[in-house]
Amino acid sequence: MLEIKNLHVDLEDEEKSILKGVDLTVEAGKVHAIMGPNGSGKSTLSYVLSGRDGYEVTQGSATLDGVDLLALEPEERAAEGLFLAFQYPVEIPGVGNMTFLRTAVNAQRKARGQDEMSAADFLKEVREKAKTLKIDADMLKRPVNVGFSGGEKKRNEILQMAMLAPKMCILDETDSGLDVDAMKLVAEGVNALRDEGRGFLVITHYQRLLDHIRPDVVHIMSEGRIIKSGGPELALEVEKNGYENLKAEVA
């Protein structure tokens, strides 16, 4: 599904190399996790895949079901079924959460040549999904992420993911800033979306999120490369011994 080959990325303004040859394949139906220390390039990978400005791909490729993601605008990538749950969801004063969600859903449907969703159908679906994520009517009415707590912001990301039903979901440190209960809630939201046709790439510092979202494959990223891949036990090893040991072992 998601295929990343030898991806090299520089920061546009600083000529600083961040990703130095990432190879990664996420199959449909699988959950892959990327762990790694600060500054290893995990978030950069998510930004580059979703199309954020400021990065220059110098080598390599990234495709989603054969479509060259790197040639597309961010909105086209979204319409192809790529979704990034942000580490820091952006506050947008003046834009109602509901308006935003509906505009997003319909923009994607339109891009795929589907009819827009009727207001009634949309409302029904949002309410159902919001309920399972414990998002109340007030949060839906408020401007996007404005005045939301850390947990509310992350739940709001998962609600968007549920409404947009992407085929490839990237979660960038979705556990950061969450207490245990909030993390469980978010993980349940994610697990509910696990599906044979859908791939997940979960980026995290800590193993604890992976207790709730069980990965099929764990990758360790360091200094812009994936230095080791393995099963869920790899995450436990990191938790126990830290990244430095692992880096030494690989080197």
Binding site: R52, V90, I92, A104, A111
Partner: protein
């Protein structure tokens, strides 16, 4: 101080071909306005309040031509149940207008004031304009008082069931129009006035508003996107005790717009909100010049102005809060912000506070910035095409100003108009 030669000759050149209308009981006010104008002279770009907006085309004797503009859209407020008063190139059109009778309000044409021997508006015509000349000269308003050819007087005595809509249409490419309206809201009365339309190639509009104790007046104006028209509006309001005056103006395109608003809070506990949203694309210059004087206790004033500018458009905001001695517990707020969609556009700002009372809360702020790139990326990552995302952020940006419109239906109408105009911008 004697007028310098340049100003004197520019003023006389402008007045040479003009004739003060034969006007019965307003003639004294008109002659006084003419004398005021001659002593201050027409604006020059060296004048303190004209540094950001070149007055040349407003001062020159002949108006620059303005091609007629028809976008085929239904005019703003068209779907509203309202009393229509239509002026075509500055002439009242009885055919297009509704019957001027409405319960709770008495509407007359300015010429009725001029012809009758005794009319309530006689004492008001030119009075607030004259008072508003201190401490800042407003020569184009004096010019208006002297030469206005038409207009209405509106006396609100109750709560009229629908808004009064002044509609200004434009049919001649070189029309030069002066309209002058006098509005008096009696104690406890309440009304809404709507204004829209380009009016002329060059339009000078003056509205004097006197709101008595406990009265309320809402004014919502839409200055459409006729690209070539020039307009100056002069709004003077005097507020009595516990009265409310709220004015919102939407401006989209137009080569030159200057909206001056002078409000004096003379009674305790009065409230004045003046707000505006402007969207300019290309050859666009829009100027809000606001002066609010607090001359009573516990009054509240808000100035909220937002401008979205692209392709070299220019926005100007000159806003002042003056708190006079004794105007304790004043609550004054002023914000002016621009969103510059490219590097060619400009926002020129002069926020001013002048406070002579010691127990007041006044805040002001002004910002100028590009569109929020993080927000744009976030929206696009959710599948919104760049232009739709930009529009959504544009509407969100001006929302704080639009929120100042109290009436839900009118606010929706203005939001709808904004959305339509944004669509149009995309071609």
């Amino acid at each position: 101080m004697a007028l310098d030669d340049t100003k004197h000759s520019a003023t006389e050149a402008r007045l040479a071909s003009m004739v003060v209308p034969d006007v019965g009981c307003t003639s004294e006010a008109r002659q006084e306005a003419l004398a005021r104008l001659r002593s201050m002279g027409l604006p020059h770009r060296r004048d303190e309040y004209w540094k950001f907006t070149r007055p040349d085309t407003l001062v020159q004797p002949e108006p620059p031509q303005a091609a007629l503009f028809d976008d085929g859209e239904a005019p703003v407020f068209d779907s509203f149940d309202r009393l229509k008063i239509v002026f075509v190139d500055g002439m009242f059109d009885p055919e297009l207008s509704d019957d001027l009778t409405l319960e709770g309000v008495v509407i007359d044409r300015l010429e009725d004031v001029c012809c009758s021997t005794e009319h309530w508006a006689e004492d008001f015509y030119g009075t607030l304009e004259a008072a508003g000349q201190v401490p800042v000269d407003r020569p184009l308003a004096a010019l208006n008082t002297a030469y206005a050819g038409d207009g209405v007087t509106i006396r609100v005595t109750g709560r009229p069931s629908k808004p009064i809509n002044l509609i200004y249409t434009h049919e001649a490419t070189a029309s030069d129009v002066f309209l002058h309206h006098v509005v008096r809201v009696e104690e406890g009365a309440c009304a809404t006035i709507l204004e829209n339309g380009p009016a002329a190639a060059r339009f000078n509009n003056c509205m004097e508003v006197d709101v008595a104790d406990g009265g309320t007046l809402h004014v919502v104006r839409a200055q459409g996107r006729d690209h070539e028209r020039r307009a100056v509006t002069n709004l003077f309001a005097r507020l009595g005790r516990e009265s409310v005056f709220k004015c919102f103006t939407l401006t989209a395109n137009g080569v030159l717009t200057r909206n001056e608003c002078v409000v004096t809070l003379t009674g305790d506990d009065a409230v004045a909100h003046v707000a505006g949203a402007a969207m300019g694309d290309g050859d666009f210059h829009q100027d809000d010049t606001v002066f609010i004087t607090h001359d009573a206790e516990r009054c509240e004033s808000r100035q909220v102005f937002k401008k979205v500018l692209s392709n070299g458009a220019v926005g100007v905001f000159q806003g002042k809060i003056l708190v006079k001695p004794g105007a304790q517990k004043t609550d004054g707020y002023q914000i002016s912000q621009s969103m510059l969609l490219d590097g060619d556009s400009e926002f020129l700002v002069k926020p001013e506070l002048e406070i002579y009372a010691d127990d007041v809360a006044c805040s002001h702020g002004s910002t100028s910035g590009a569109i929020d790139e993080d927000a744009l990326y976030y929206l696009r990552a959710r599948g919104l095409p760049k232009d739709i995302a930009t529009d959504l952020l544009t509407l969100a940006f001006v929302a704080e100003a639009v929120e100042e419109i109290e009436d839900d239906a009118l606010r929706e109408e203005i939001n709808g108009q904004l959305a339509t105009w944004l669509d149009w911008r995309k071609g």
